[in-house]
């Protein structure tokens, strides 16, 4: 994605990931398959304490730990492609969070905290599917305020909890006393917030890819009234509507990734826009794919059932659909999202945000640069 989306500096627009990143994603997909594919999540659910031991060597083998998504360029794109491949297999591991771990290795990874203030009680406690994959986690709010939190022990088994653990923020010293995060967000913090929102959406995209792929195969194979389900227009139309949602997420995911990569001043807003669309898409895609699978879709022998259950953590944490929309609406204020028709109000809004410490402002006529 070297040529920028909507930018005014290049002569064309390449909406694809780089060949290297795409190839890395395919390699990861094959490696996960060779290591068990759909069996991985089932094995992790049977023996939750072994999940890190099951997945980490595999990630080591494909060089996942050498990726630095903050380095941008191919590494960020490769991280996105890797997350998408992990989503395809519902890889039972907090890959996106772990890929965003701090360079000094002081914590296991990075989790977005839903609250915006520095103190306790400004939002729900952070939570993510990190149980058993590390004790201490870095946190960052949408405003870029950093903190550290400790994962609580699992309240319930993964069959229904899908490895989600709540995190207890650790107190840190601030100028006004002892709080649970740094007082002011930084540009780096906001860039991290955008990254922590975008990468899990790539995992969710991989899950949508898989759910639709499974359903396509199912409706082609399953016969009713003497013909495949795929022949019924009622089935076809549901599937196309779900596919429109999936491909829309794919485009927004690439845009949001570019926004992070370019250090765009609106990267957090772009990431929230992606998350909003991805959560809406997930709602429709899983409703349709379950419906078209019929009762088979609930059964453990059906892969859709596993993908569907393990899509829950990323769809609820760190922000639900309503919370995502709420944050997006408040953050864009009157300015809206960047784009060719953002106009003076949009440009002014982005500039105001940039003035508050963002890494970059908006380009000409509100277009990302």
């Amino acid at each position: 994605m070297t040529a920028v989306l909507g930018a005014a500096t290049s002569t064309d627009m390449n909406t694809e990931l780089s060949d290297e990143a795409a190839e890395y994603g395919r390699t990861a997909l094959r490696a996960f398959e060779a290591a068990g594919g759909d069996e991985l999540v089932q094995a992790a659910e049977r023996e939750p304490e072994k999940r890190a031991g099951l997945i980490e060597p595999l990630l080591d083998e494909i060089g996942a730990w050498e990726l630095d998504p903050r380095a941008g360029g191919d590494e960020l794109e490769a991280a996105a492609a890797l997350c998408r491949a992990a989503g395809w297999w519902a890889l039972p591991y907090p890959l996106a969070e772990r890929l965003c771990r701090p360079a000094d290795g002081s914590t296991a990874g990075l989790v977005l905290a839903a609250g915006t203030g520095a103190g306790v009680g400004t939002g729900p406690a952070p939570a993510a599917a990190v149980a058993g994959a590390g004790q201490r986690w870095s946190t960052v709010t949408l405003d870029g305020r950093r903190g550290v939190a400790t994962a609580r022990p699992l309240a319930e088994g993964p069959r229904y909890g899908a490895f989600v653990a709540e995190l207890d923020p650790e107190p840190v010293a601030t100028s006004t006393g002892t709080g649970t995060g740094t007082e002011d967000g930084t540009a780096d913090g906001r860039a991290d917030a955008a990254l922590a929102l975008v990468l899990p959406c790539w995992t969710l995209l991989g899950m949508l890819d898989r759910a639709l792929d499974l359903t396509r195969a199912h409706v082609l194979a399953r016969q009713q009234f003497g013909q495949p389900l795929a022949r019924f227009q009622g089935v076809q139309f549901q599937l196309t509507d779900a596919e429109v949602e999936r491909v829309g997420v794919e485009e927004l995911a690439k845009f949001a990734l570019w926004s992070v990569q370019a250090g765009h001043g609106d990267a957090v807003e772009d990431a929230l826009a992606l998350r909003h669309a991805a959560l809406e898409a997930a709602d429709l895609v899983f409703r349709v794919t379950h419906q078209l699978h019929g009762a088979m879709g609930f059964c453990d022998e059906t892969t859709l059932s596993w993908i569907s259950r393990y899509s829950q953590p990323v769809r609820r944490h760190p922000l639900s659909l309503s919370a995502t929309r709420d944050h997006l609406t408040r953050r864009i204020g009157r300015a809206g999202l960047s784009g060719p028709f953002a106009g003076p109000a949009g440009a002014a809004g982005a500039a105001a945000r940039a003035g508050a410490g963002s890494a970059a402002g908006s380009g000409e006529e509100g277009q990302p640069r």
Binding site: S10, D12, T15, R216, F237, G333, R334, G339, G343, A345
Partner: protein, 378 residues
């Protein structure tokens, strides 16, 4: 998207500011002055080489890039299409004549199109042939060296103001319904053609019935080959893969809303501002899906179903955004001229959006096209 595109956008916006009144809501209103604004604007674009940018140089174009063409589509639609009906001649009638027309047809039709002087209408749909175009009944019966055309077209946009019609009629009965169809280029001034406007909520000039009563046509009026018009029509539709950049007007109106409402914006129900934000996300999504189609087109990898996802998303956006925008203006008083102008633009958008999922190929046809590709093994 290059600096050239940004410059082009600036140039187009400047031209619209200079030549189009701020309360312009399109060429197709009850006020004939609006049509004249559009016609004059087309001449202005033509003088600057901006009307037929995509055309090959040998026909007076600039061979502009797909991204420049996209920027033109976006800018024009965002600003209520000040080219009026010209996009039809420029975007597909002209290019089709370039490919299939005789030297005489090219000499006769291309210069007036490139100067923005002529309006075309499209004689495709009929009372019994909507989405199922191949079932059309308008017939061209052999009569000496030519044909006599009899039949009826319907939903024909701009027929009251068009000088020419791109007419599809049946010339013979083939083994398949798609066979035996022929395209004729016919002058609307012929007394054997009668146009009856259809009053509708989307405004005047958009919908008409056109009756052909023994219209005399000759070999010279045939575009391409007799009986092989179907493949030509498929090509025509391919020119319009991306179609109207509906998201551009939606994005512009959504972005204008807070300015138009002024202080009242913050007093809107929070939930309504949330719906506004959601529409901005959906508008961006539609725009990126359009860019995906353009990228595929530019790389020569496009298939007919590739634009279907975009078309489904953008037509839904058109209608959903209209509902949100109507609710926004209903919650505000908007007493000044700019406010009234915004309210009128939103109401116009709402009326026109009703046709979005029907016009230029219904959304169901797009779903069928997409399903066919998705389920190719079936």
């Amino acid at each position: 998207m290059g600096e050239g595109v940004a410059t082009l956008r600036r140039e187009l916006r400047q031209l619209v500011r200079e030549h189009v009144p701020p309360d312009f809501l399109g060429a197709f209103t009850a006020d004939p002055a609006d049509l004249e604004v559009a016609q004059a604007f087309c001449r202005t674009l033509a003088e600057r080489g901006l009307l037929c940018m995509a055309w090959p140089r040998e026909f007076g174009g600039r061979e502009s890039s797909p991204w420049e063409q996209m920027a033109v589509r976006e800018e024009m639609w965002a600003l209520h299409e000040p080219r009026g009906a010209q996009y039809m001649g420029v975007n597909w009638v002209g290019p089709t004549i370039m490919r299939h027309g005789t030297a005489e047809q090219q000499a006769r039709h291309l210069p007036p199109i490139s100067r923005g002087e002529v309006i075309w209408c499209q004689g495709f749909s009929e009372p019994e042939a909507g989405s199922d175009l191949a079932s059309l009944r308008t017939t061209a019966r052999r009569d000496g060296g030519g044909w006599r055309v009899t039949g009826q077209k319907v939903w024909t946009s701009y027929a009251t103001m068009a000088q020419w019609c791109f007419l599809l009629a049946r010339t013979s009965k083939g083994a398949r319904r798609q066979q035996g169809l022929t395209v004729f280029l016919v002058p609307m001034s012929d007394p054997a053609i009668e146009v009856r406007p259809i009053a509708s909520m989307i405004g005047p000039h958009h919908l008409n019935e056109v009756f052909f009563d023994e219209l005399r046509v000759t070999e010279a009026d045939v575009l391409g080959t007799v009986d092989e018009g179907w493949s030509l029509v498929q090509e025509v539709l391919a020119f319009e893969r991306v179609g109207i950049a509906r998201y551009a007007r939606v994005e512009r109106l959504l972005h204008e809303a807070p300015t138009a409402l002024g202080d009242q914006w913050e007093k809107l129900p929070e939930e309504l501002r949330g719906r506004w934000a959601r529409m901005l996300v959906h508008a961006r999504r539609a725009r990126l899906l359009a860019y995906r189609v353009v990228a595929l087109q530019a790389s020569g990898r496009i298939r007919p179903d590739d634009s279907a996802a975009y078309r489904i998303a953008v037509t839904r956006l058109d209608q959903e955004s209209a509902e949100v925008l109507m609710d926004i203006v209903a919650e505000a008083s908007l007493p000044d001229e700019a406010g009234r102008r915004f309210r009128r633009a939103v109401a116009d958008h709402r009326r026109y959006s009703v046709s979005a999922t029907v016009a230029s190929g219904s959304v169901e046809m797009q779903r069928i096209l997409m399903a066919r590709a998705l389920l190719a093994a079936s």
